[in-house]
């Protein structure tokens, strides 16, 4: 008689336990915690299904992890891949339309650390994760964070592919092109990409030299004389910034300009080169191709 009762109560307890574990909402076992670049730890009950991205590189990272379909809204400047252009745009990355973001009912908003909109959105109860990849190492780190956030464990593999792509681009360069001295102009000014910038890192990995040393910072505004003195072997510049470069006083004598060793990038290519995102391998490949093409062969 007692045996039967015990078996019954055991069974009841077991049944309740099973029911609880099945029916409990994704409790602490399945909760996600991510510490963003502000040092804020954001907790989500489950992997977010509706994501708004306010930074083009973050948009690309989400899509690189094959989670493009989770994006419900992007900022005005996110333009890759082509599918995100059809998504609702909520304004600029730094000053999005709060109303538009809220209307999309996102589970999480990905944005840059320098955006003020984060506080407003958080005050309205929206989860905000601030990440801003600026260096090669950042891309890996942010990729893994986004992967963790989205509940996807593909991040490491995706990174390995990107990294391998960059190495391959470096290896594709003939040894003669290795010591090419490059001047990368980012904007009229002239603003150059130094060694410590994202582009500078890519160039370093490709094995070429940057005439702008790291101590000048990532994007210094240079004295034009400095570039003439340094006499780069190769000039890289956006085609719209190339306007009038040869008319700059003293620049027409520069060997790279005289011999037309100039790599011109159109707007889309420039976007790809500048963004610290998953396309850095494509960017490296683009630069490598041009370097191999235009560099001096002794």
């Amino acid at each position: 008689m007692i045996l039967t009762t015990m078996r019954l109560s055991d069974g009841l307890v077991a049944l309740i336990a099973i029911l609880l574990s099945v029916c409990a909402p994704a409790g602490s076992a399945q909760a996600l915690q991510v510490t963003d670049d502000r040092g804020v730890t954001v907790t989500l009950p489950a992997p977010p299904l509706r994501v708004v991205s306010l930074l083009p590189s973050l948009t690309e990272l989400v899509c690189a992890l094959d989670q493009c379909q989770r994006l419900v809204g992007v900022d005005r400047y996110s333009n890759f891949p082509a599918s995100v252009r059809a998504l609702p745009q909520v304004g600029g990355g730094l000053d999005p339309s709060i109303e538009a973001v809220v209307a999309l009912k996102p589970d999480v908003v990905l944005m840059a650390t320098s955006s003020r909109a984060g506080e407003r959105l958080q005050a309205l109860g929206i989860k905000v994760v601030a990440l801003e990849p600026k260096t090669h190492a950042d891309v890996r780190r942010v990729l893994e964070k986004v992967g963790a956030l989205l509940g996807v464990d593909d991040a490491q593999r995706v990174w390995r592919v990107i990294d391998a792509g960059v190495s391959a681009a470096a290896q594709s360069l003939p040894p003669a092109a290795r010591n090419t001295r490059v001047y990368f102009e980012v904007n009229n000014g002239p603003y150059a990409a130094g060694e410590s910038s994202f582009i500078g890192e890519t160039l370093t990995r490709l094995g070429v030299k940057n005439i702008v040393p790291a101590k000048l910072g990532p994007f210094p505004k240079l004295n034009p004389e400095f570039v003439v003195r340094a006499n780069p072997d190769l000039v890289m510049v956006g085609d719209y910034n190339y306007v009038g470069m040869e008319q700059r006083p003293g620049w027409s004598g520069m060997r790279a300009l005289r011999e037309k060793r100039v790599c011109l990038f159109n707007r889309d290519e420039a976007d790809m080169l500048v963004r610290a995102g998953p396309r850095m391998a494509d960017g490296a490949r683009l630069m490598a191709r041009c370097i191999a093409d235009k560099a001096r062969t002794p």
Partner: protein
Amino acid sequence: MMNQRASAIGLVLLLIAAVLALVGAGVGSTGFEGVLHAMDEPVALQILWDIRLPRTLGAWVAGALLGLAGAVAQGLFRNPLADPYLLGSASGASLGVALSLVLFGVSPFATQWLLRLGLTAGAFAGAVAGVLLTLTLARGVQHTLRLLLAGVIVGVVLGAAKELIMLARPDFLQSMQSFMLGSTGYVGWSACNIMLGTWMLCMAVAWALSPVLDGLALGEATAASLGLPLARLRRGLVAVLALATGTAVAQTGLVAFVGLAAPHLVRSVVKTSHGRLILLSSLMGGALLMAADILARWVIAPQELPVGVLTAVLGGGYLLWLMHRRVTARGLL
């Protein structure tokens, strides 16, 4: 004896300019390097001749143009707060540069012309267009208050248009900022010569028309009673203003404060008629911009500071000190 004092100050300013020219020729991408030192290597000599010398002299001429324009503006509007950018030239030039940047690549025709003329043509055309727009809005030069108001309106509207373009194309933000804050980075000999020629023309016309500014200082009705053809002369002065400002802005960007401060600095040491004021203001503006440019290139070489920031610091600092001295001397406040 005021005339003697004025002449003395003019000579001092020219002397300062000569000294600064020598210093400026020595400030290269690694800070100060003596000119003699450059005589050894041909590359360095070429850099000195092609880049540093025209930049330094160009800074003087641009400053001279802005100082001239500032004195003319303050005389024309009888307002010591007037500056050369009042009639929409600054906002017009900015919009011109923005449109040039945007049009590049849109059509091969536009691209080809832009490659030939560069951004300077866009800036100049924009500056002149801005002034013409202001004149049209004010319906002529007769009413200074209307001119001022029209200038402010044009400035705001064209500025907003430029901001919209920047919003749509944020990749140009840095280039625009470089233009807005001013730089002599791309001033070569041809730019120098254009500015010099413009300066001589504007100086001659302004000198010839300066009696009308003196007459206007007595009041408009009095000036008219003295037989001065006010409308015609005002138009001439506005043309000088537009030409001088447009040329300077096209070559060195929007350098702030020189046009405003130079006439005040001159008036603080000598009181004189408008003709001499315009000349001295021009010389003062040249010295001011030259000094600021040298500092802009020197302080964090090989990086450069925007020269507009330094003109504000130098000119503004000196004016503040003057004000302080004047206030404590009179025991006011």
